[in-house]
């Protein structure tokens, strides 16, 4: 009897824990649900729903999760009749790809340097990296503008890509996972005569895979949704990334905007989907003990 009671209590406990989490999860999903259902509702239906809001009346916005007349017209218009959209989409992909590649080449080795070595001023330098990471964009915008102008990079995509490549954010993120690699492993490898590069490539990178993926995903999201930098440094609209396609979303074009947002979101979700497992498994794996 006592055993049954304990099991029963365990179940109740589990339920008490599970329910709020699940409900919260659903709540979190709601906005995206709104977006999804909004993107397949046609313009007329939007007007209907938003009626009370636009008229400043007494009512509330009505909503149907599945619209009365679901339509792909927004997506169609977006994908086939808005050459600007596809062009910017491609811009984004290209830009983000280059940023991530650059961060891999520049930032990850730097994190390794901080994590796997000891040298004078390591701490201070790393603290500096962190402080630089925390600065809001507005503050350094003008100074960066001047530097980019000196380098004649203004109005080219490099003006956005290069500063992002050298952002200290990925360094900080990957540092953590590199830190998790046990020193003894590195020691042993060095004793065995392995060169630093080999150690980095064959021990460091594989063991920190999770952290790398986590950094990759976060970096991707950061670059994919970046708005201030292209606005400030790219005058030529044909170079703009997708995030600037609808910087000011008015409710008048809500359906269209929702569809555009869905597509922007979908790419991010793809990336999520591809790397989700490695993300967690890897993070966990980086904490192995000897």
């Amino acid at each position: 009897m006592r055993i049954r009671k304990r099991k029963w209590r365990k179940w109740i406990g589990a339920l008490c824990a599970a329910l709020p989490v699940a409900v919260l999860g659903l709540l979190f999903f709601l906005p995206i649900g709104i977006l999804m259902s909004g993107s397949i509702a046609d313009a007329l239906e939007w007007q209907e729903r938003l009626g009370p809001m636009l008229k400043e009346g007494e009512g509330f916005i009505g909503w149907r999760w599945i619209p009365d007349y679901p339509t792909g017209e927004h997506f169609k218009r977006l994908l086939f009749y808005s050459p600007g959209f596809l062009h910017l989409f491609w811009n984004s992909i290209w830009m983000v790809g280059r940023i991530l590649a650059g961060q891999l080449l520049m930032g990850v080795p730097a994190a390794w340097a901080f994590a796997a070595f000891s040298f004078r001023g390591r701490r201070t330098l790393f603290q500096l990296y962190i402080i630089l990471m925390l600065l809001p964009f507005q503050v350094t915008m003008l100074s960066r503008y001047l530097v980019l102008r000196e380098l004649q990079l203004l109005n080219t995509s490099s003006s956005v890509i290069l500063p992002a490549v050298f952002s200290t954010f990925p360094v900080f993120l990957v540092y953590r996972s590199f830190r998790g690699i046990p020193r003894e492993l590195l020691e042993a490898a060095r004793m065995d005569g392995a060169g630093e590069l080999r150690i980095f490539l064959q021990i460091g990178l594989p063991l920190a895979k999770g952290g790398l993926f986590a950094c990759f995903v976060l970096s991707f999201l950061e670059s994919w949704n970046m708005m201030e930098e292209p606005l400030a440094f790219l005058k030529d609209k044909t170079l703009w990334p997708l995030s600037l396609y609808l910087p000011e979303i008015s409710l008048a074009q809500a359906g269209f905007a929702a569809a555009a947002s869905m597509i922007t979101l979908t790419v991010s979700l793809f990336v999520f989907g591809l790397f989700r497992d490695s993300l967690e498994q890897g993070i966990a794996a980086s904490g192995i003990k000897a």
């Binding site: 979190f28 977006l35 509330f60 050298f166 020691e187 904490g287």
Partner: protein, 291 residues
């Protein structure tokens, strides 16, 4: 034992000998260092310089800018608001996410929910604003649910909308990171403690928590960084002059810049950077593993 070439041994204070090749790290660090200096450090240096000169003419003016920034009411308001915001949202986020992570660890099936929590992070700011307008406006969904016309985006309540936005966006990866960190806690030690009769709470505070210190540092700093990112949404919803309660540091900087008050902006930025740096350092000392 073969001695590697070009080596130098350092004796640590605790008697262990570690190997340090003083040159090799440069290969890894240099490209980043160069790039960071060029694109991040030098601009910041320029900002520091500007904090000591007048806006457009460039004349040196000593501490004048700092003084005027200190005295500036708008700046003070912004600092107060920002501190209040960070002071509220950061603990909420960290605690709630930790609790959820624990719950997920306890009831493994919940891990499927992770996707829901991660989704908000991917939403671009403009989209969030669009949906928020629908949800929080006077005639929006939330009002409809409550049956009362209540404009959540105005005045005091906007602050809580902001907190909600922040938590909503950042809960996902925080939970993931906590979960990963939780997995590093050795199960056998916990098991041993349980067998010895320790309750779940004691186990948590005395065994689990210390193992989470390192993760807490990363997560904390990351979340701290993300508190600044929330400016984008605020700006898109409420413009340059939102209500008094959500007027943040970045608003001040932004507006000063527009009015060409570059000197004040620079001084304010340097002050802010100093404080941020101090906070980060403090967190580091508190939580980071020494090595």
């Amino acid at each position: 034992m073969r001695l590697p070439r070009k080596s130098r041994f350092i004796w640590r204070s605790d008697g262990f000998r570690i190997y340090s090749s003083n040159r090799k790290f440069l290969w890894f660090l240099l490209p980043s260092l160069l790039g960071v200096s060029l694109f991040v450090l030098i601009p910041f240096g320029d900002v520091v310089r500007r904090s000591f000169t007048t806006a457009l003419s460039g004349e040196f003016c000593g501490w004048d800018n700092y003084v005027s920034v200190f005295r500036n009411q708008a700046f003070r308001l912004a600092v107060k608001n920002t501190l209040r915001f960070v002071g509220v949202c950061l603990p909420i986020l960290l605690v709630v996410s930790l609790v959820i992570a624990l719950a997920m660890q306890w009831v493994p099936v919940l891990e499927k929910c992770k996707a829901c929590y991660l989704l908000p992070m991917a939403m671009p700011a403009a989209t969030v604003v669009l949906v928020w307008k629908l949800v929080f406006a006077k005639q929006g969904f939330l009002s409809g649910l409550l049956g009362v016309q209540y404009d959540f985006l105005a005045g005091d309540r906007a602050f809580w909308v902001l907190i909600a936005t922040y938590v909503w966006k950042n809960l996902g990866y925080t939970v993931v990171l906590w979960l990963a960190a939780l997995r590093t806690v050795p199960v056998d030690i916990k098991e041993a403690a349980r067998v010895d009769g320790a309750g779940a709470v004691r186990i948590f505070f005395h065994i689990t928590l210390p193992y989470l210190k390192g993760a807490a540092y990363t997560i904390g700093l990351l979340s701290f960084l993300n508190t600044f990112k929330v400016f984008r949404e605020v700006y898109l919803i409420a413009g340059s002059y939102p209500g008094e309660e959500i007027y943040l540091l970045q608003h001040v900087f932004h507006n000063w810049y527009t009015k060409l008050d570059l000197d004040k902006m620079a001084a304010g930025a340097v002050l802010a950077a100093a404080v941020l740096g101090a906070v980060a350092l403090f967190m580091g000392r508190l939580l980071e593993d020494e090595d």
